[in-house]
């Protein structure tokens, strides 16, 4: 099962027609499934009135107003006040003036995005670092109760986040970790470590033991062999695992919304509460969503080969 057998078909080769029909159906599904996402990306370039026009507009005059509104905060002013101001400097300011508003400052989007980056990368480094050590130990040594420990590690991932959040909330309140980046990094590390250990154990299992044994015969200690032989061999697996951890931490919402509110808030709880005058500012929300999704789209393409392994905790390997 671990190797996908894809030798050339003989009598079971699908006919040209069946291939053509299959291709057509799959392409159709792909186009339908990508439409909602494409629509959100387009909405980021619409004006607020185009975004909620009836019927929905496919063709529209593109504008960067959504992105301006995403990055700035504005306030409405009287015509007299506006007339007395010096001419608008930036493009965003001009657009705000056109609606008799002035830009008064930066929005919280960039700080939230930065929080997301710091927390995602911080927790990824920790969970892959601890994970690769534990995975190596589980892969190479006789650990008592190995299977039970591995199952325990996996089962921590199965807990509903809200159930975990109740005591974490109380614990963090006591320790002063609520709404701190450190608290979120530790929490995401704990959640991701199960995935890291399981995936990395699979990758390390595939590296022949003989490599390290040869190195140790040559005089390396076990630790040197781990560092200079196993780690370089496991690079692909480590990178794939790291990307999976990054994606989880980047996308996480339940813990973030319950345990952070300001200082350490990440982007997922922030994007839905971007509001303009009179309700949600959809072009700004769409712009924020688009920027937030770009890293994920890049990762999806990078991860294609290892996707299956990652989403099944290493149960299915191709």
């Amino acid at each position: 099962m671990s190797q996908g057998i894809s030798t050339a078909h003989s009598v079971v080769e699908p006919s040209a027609t069946s291939r053509w029909v299959a291709g057509l159906l799959v392409a159709l599904y792909a186009l339908i499934t990508i439409t909602p996402l494409a629509w959100i990306i387009l909405t980021g370039f619409k004006s607020p009135s185009d975004a909620i026009s009836y019927p929905p507009k496919v063709w529209f005059e593109p504008t960067t107003q959504g992105y301006c509104n995403l990055f700035t905060t504005r306030s409405r002013q009287t015509p007299e006040y506006l007339a007395a101001l010096p001419p608008a400097t930036g493009k965003c300011d001009q657009m705000a003036r056109a609606e008799s508003m002035v830009v008064v400052g930066n929005s919280n989007y960039i700080p939230r995005f930065v929080n997301s980056l710091i927390i995602a990368f911080g927790s990824t480094v920790l969970s892959v670092g601890f994970g690769v050590m534990a995975a190596y130990a589980f892969s190479r040594f006789k650990v008592p109760l190995k299977d039970d420990l591995l199952f325990f590690i996996l089962s921590t991932r199965m807990m509903p986040p809200i159930a975990v959040a109740i005591p974490i909330y109380l614990m963090y309140r006591e320790l002063g970790l609520s709404d701190t980046r450190t608290g979120m990094i530790l929490l995401y590390t704990a959640v991701n470590i199960s995935l890291a250990v399981w995936l990395l154990k699979g990758f390390i299992d595939e590296i022949p033991r003989e490599y390290e044994e040869a190195a140790m015969v040559d005089g390396y200690t076990r630790l040197q062999a781990f560092r200079k032989v196993v780690l370089p061999q496991a690079t692909t697996g480590i990178v794939a695992t790291a990307i999976f951890c990054l994606i989880f931490a980047w996308n996480e919402y339940a813990f973030a919304v319950l345990l952070t509110s300001g200082e350490a808030q990440t982007a997922p709880p922030f994007i839905p509460i971007i509001i303009g005058e009179g309700g949600q500012d959809w072009p700004a929300v769409a712009a924020g969503t688009t920027l937030f999704l770009v890293p994920i789209l890049v990762f999806t393409v990078l991860l294609r080969k290892h996707l299956l392994r990652g989403i099944t905790f290493g149960a299915v390997r191709k």
């Binding site: 799959v26 990508i34 006789k142 076990r222 149960a315 299915v316």
Partner: protein
């Protein structure tokens, strides 16, 4: 005699080197514990200790918003009230409906797509990548933008349904109507997670060796017979794996639905996790919600056990 001495010499010279180097470093046993230690310490601090705390709280009437109020031990009262609370049972039914239909639709569509992709037509890699995108997105962000697509009158979803069926786009509201809201969350979850089932099914289909089909062809088994007797049984363990993973994930579903409907209208889409969040972080009934959390733990843990058994089955096959 003269030939033995140099050999013994050589052996004596050759053996101590690796032994000595191993003695210089740490023993394997201490490395094992040193390497597993940090992971275990972290999991004990952030998973097990809180879990024990939850169990302790579940036997009290503690409320997190009144840290100074007197806490008294009330035995299993919380468990009794959770299990006899009709609202909890409604939430469990809502969750079951959600889990059942999302899995049914995702398996059906996911398997069909995998079956088609297995034809290996030109450009199948490109289309696969495109199809996979939804499952990589943040569920919260997805819930949020689907709320925009579901807007009556101005939303894309209503416009498309109106164009296809001829009903007025403002005549229905996916998120506002009691009858439609449970299906609104099922549609979004299916959109998002069908690729997941598809990917696992595809691995299953690709794992079937060609010679089995060739043998069936020699035996003149019909294409339909081949499908029922070869394809389906051989892909079944993979489908089971996907179903169990999706089952566990959707049983604890929170983020996407919280953003899309936050349980409404009324409590028609209030899944177990959303009820739990309301009890714990809005009504602040910490003791009561801890008991509910433990009950959910046990349920998920049971499913996790089933998962590991299925996983071993798939692996040993």
């Amino acid at each position: 005699m003269s030939t033995k001495a140099p050999l013994a010499d050589r052996i004596a010279k050759a053996t101590p080197a690796p032994l000595a180097s191993r003695m210089r470093g740490l023993s394997d046993r201490s490395i094992a514990w040193l390497f597993i230690g940090p992971t275990m310490a972290l999991l004990l601090a952030i998973n097990i200790f809180p879990l024990i705390w939850t169990i302790k709280l579940s036997f009290t009437n503690y409320r997190a918003n009144r840290p100074n109020a007197e806490v008294s031990d009330i035995g299993i009262d919380n468990y009794v009230s959770v299990l006899t609370d009709p609202d909890i049972w409604i939430a469990m039914q809502t969750t079951a409906h959600f889990v059942f239909w999302t899995i049914a639709l995702q398996t059906l569509i996911g398997f069909s797509l995998a079956f088609l992709l297995d034809r290996k037509f030109r450009g199948h890699g490109f289309w696969t990548t495109l199809i996979l995108i939804p499952m990589m997105l943040s569920p919260a962000v997805v819930g949020n933008f689907w709320a925009f697509l579901y807007q009556p009158q101005t939303g894309l979803f209503n416009a498309v349904v109106a164009a296809l069926t001829g009903v007025s786009p403002s005549s229905f509201s996916m998120l506002g109507e009691v009858k439609l809201a449970p299906w609104a969350i099922i549609i979004v979850d299916t959109w998002m997670w069908t690729p997941y089932v598809m990917l696992i099914c595809l691995a299953g289909l690709r794992s079937i060796p060609d010679y089995i089909y060739e043998a069936a062809e020699v035996d003149r088994a019909s294409r339909l017979r081949q499908f029922w007797s070869i394809t389906l049984p051989m892909v079944l363990p993979f489908i089971m794996l996907a179903v169990l993973f999706r089952g566990i994930e959707n049983f604890k579903m929170f983020d996407m639905v919280n953003l899309l409907t936050s349980g409404g209208p009324g409590s028609t889409t209030e899944l177990a996790s959303i009820t739990l969040k309301r009890e714990a972080f809005e009504k602040w009934r910490t003791g009561y919600s801890s008991a509910f959390a433990i009950i959910l733990f046990v349920a998920v843990f049971g499913m996790a056990n089933m998962y590991v058994k299925a996983l071993n089955y798939v692996k040993t096959r």
